[in-house]
């Protein structure tokens, strides 16, 4: 079940990234192609088989996991900028790109790196499960490492929620409002992922569901905005009926 979810998400994201190649070549919103490409790489690195293959190539000390963290940070940073700019959320934009946002990013990056090198990371496994199983100390460190890695996406995801809520209730095209709803749900899901340490171990499937809900919501949401743009009709043409509010 979880495997199906993972590969489906990978396929969806990869397809969207591929579909954006022509427009990226034309020079339209290249960073959006970058976001999709980074997300595809991130999903690839969260699936056991490709993860192990890539990590073995990198020396088998789970450097691939560290890479994954920074791929996610990069994707979410650019995504946050684009979404905040597009939806006119100047406050959020300033929060992400201003001193506080950059500081949060730097501190969390330093934490992720520091905790990573505090561990004996021998033994490739997605989600660091072999490292987690080593002893109590490693168990704790992996939890901290994961929490630091989730904190930045959660920060950006939650920061975007108010602008999304505003957009849902606006008079924007329906597809754009649906997209805003998905982006909002995605942000909320990433925010929820901060609570993972408090989830009982036998509910671990919940983690996957929340993670992939977030990723899928973001991908589909962004793709919908694109679809809305492609399908756009001429503005104001055929506006036969309207009255003041």
């Amino acid at each position: 079940m979880i495997t199906i979810l993972q590969w489906t998400t990978l396929a969806v994201c990869g397809l969207v990234a591929l579909a954006r190649v022509p427009s990226a070549v034309r020079g339209e919103n290249r960073s959006l192609f970058g976001i999709f490409a980074l997300m595809t790489l991130a999903i690839l690195l969260s699936i056991e088989a490709p993860y192990v293959a890539i990590d073995q190539a990198l020396g088998g000390i789970n450097l691939a996991n560290l890479l994954l963290r920074f791929v996610i940070f990069g994707a979410i940073f650019f995504l946050g900028i684009r979404v905040a700019k597009g939806f006119g959320a100047t406050g959020t934009y300033r929060l992400i790109t201003g001193r506080p946002g950059i500081l949060v990013l730097l501190v969390l990056s330093a934490l992720v790196i520091a905790v990573f090198f505090l561990m004996d990371t021998e033994g490739s496994s997605a989600g660091l499960s072999t490292v987690y199983a080593k002893d109590d100390r490693h168990m704790l460190l992996v939890e901290y490492y994961g929490a630091a890695g989730r904190a930045y996406p959660a920060f950006v995801g939650v920061a975007l929620i108010p602008a999304m809520v505003k957009a849902i209730g606006s008079r924007l095209p329906v597809l754009v409002r649906v997209a805003a709803l998905l982006l909002g749900v995605g942000g909320a899901a990433i925010g929820l992922s901060l609570l993972f340490p408090f989830i009982p171990p036998d509910w671990s499937a919940m983690r996957f569901v929340v993670n992939y809900t977030a990723v899928l919501c973001y991908i589909v949401g962004l793709a919908l905005i694109w679809v809305a743009k492609v399908r756009r009709r001429k503005p104001l043409a055929g506006t036969a009926s309207f009255t003041e509010k």
């Binding site: 008079r171 924007l172 095209p173 754009v176 905005i225 104001l236 009926s241 309207f242 009255t243 509010k245």
Partner: protein, 245 residues
């Protein structure tokens, strides 16, 4: 509200006893699948009855009056009030009429005679009609008579729409001719509702310079708001597409 299929079949029997459903569709220009679906669901739309009536040279108001839920339409047509007539003149026509009045020119010159009035309904005909007949309590009475929530009623007016049922209920609540609302919503023509030809033009000509100019001012202000809102929405949408499309 739709009409019960049984009553519709009975009515159709009365006006075209030998015609098959296919014949009726061909003559009235209704898609066969549309009518078939309405019959299967047991709910025939009011506009279907109007189209068929026209095809068989029957007054649609009289035809509708034969159905229980529209029995108030029976009887001789009640002439529209002057306010109603003026409300069914488009903003552009009102503006042109005002410009043609000598009072508008400091030198007292008469402007060029305006072209004939554009046909009903115009872009804000429903909203303007309800405003014209509203004594301040009409919306309240409509919502208690039909059970529609006031915000849903307002939403329909904002979109310049009103279901036939609500249009008739509004006429009744305001004490004006029961078919007036159907004219304002464009379901039937002025002539079918028994409005005298040229009645709108006469009502317009009988307005004083001051009344006409004030009305044009109100209408222009409302139109300005609508246009500005559309421009803002458009700008916001463009921004989203520029960043995320």
């Amino acid at each position: 509200m739709t009409l019960p299929a049984k009553a519709f079949q009975r009515w159709l029997q009365g006006i075209a006893p030998d015609a098959s459903t296919a014949d009726v569709c061909r003559v009235s220009g209704i898609k066969r699948t549309t009518l078939a679906q309405q019959l299967v669901r047991g709910k025939v739309s009011v506009s279907t009855v109007v189209s068929i009536s026209r095809a068989y040279n029957i007054n649609p108001v009289a035809a509708l009056a034969g159905f229980d839920s529209y029995s108030v339409l029976a009887g001789p047509p009640q002439p529209p009030t002057r306010c109603e007539l003026v409300s069914q003149i488009s903003t552009a026509d009102l503006l042109r009429a005002a410009l043609a009045r000598p009072a508008m020119d400091p030198l007292g010159r008469r402007g060029a005679a305006p072209p004939p009035l554009s046909p009903v309904p115009h872009a804000s005909s429903v909203k303007n009609w309800v405003d014209a007949i509203d004594d301040g309590e009409v919306r309240h009475r409509v919502s208690s008579a039909t059970g529609i929530a006031p915000q849903n009623y307002s939403a329909q007016l904002t979109a310049n729409r009103l279901s036939p049922e609500l249009a008739v209920a509004t006429s009744v609540a305001a004490g004006v001719g029961p078919a007036s609302g159907l004219v304002a919503t464009g379901l039937i023509t002025e002539e079918e509702a028994g409005w005298a030809p040229g009645a709108r033009q006469e009502a317009l000509d009988s307005m004083s310079d001051g009344d006409l100019t004030a009305l044009v001012g109100d209408r222009m202000q409302a139109l300005g708001k609508v246009l500005r809102r559309q421009e803002q929405d458009q700008a916001q949408t463009e921004k989203i597409w520029e960043n995320l499309g």
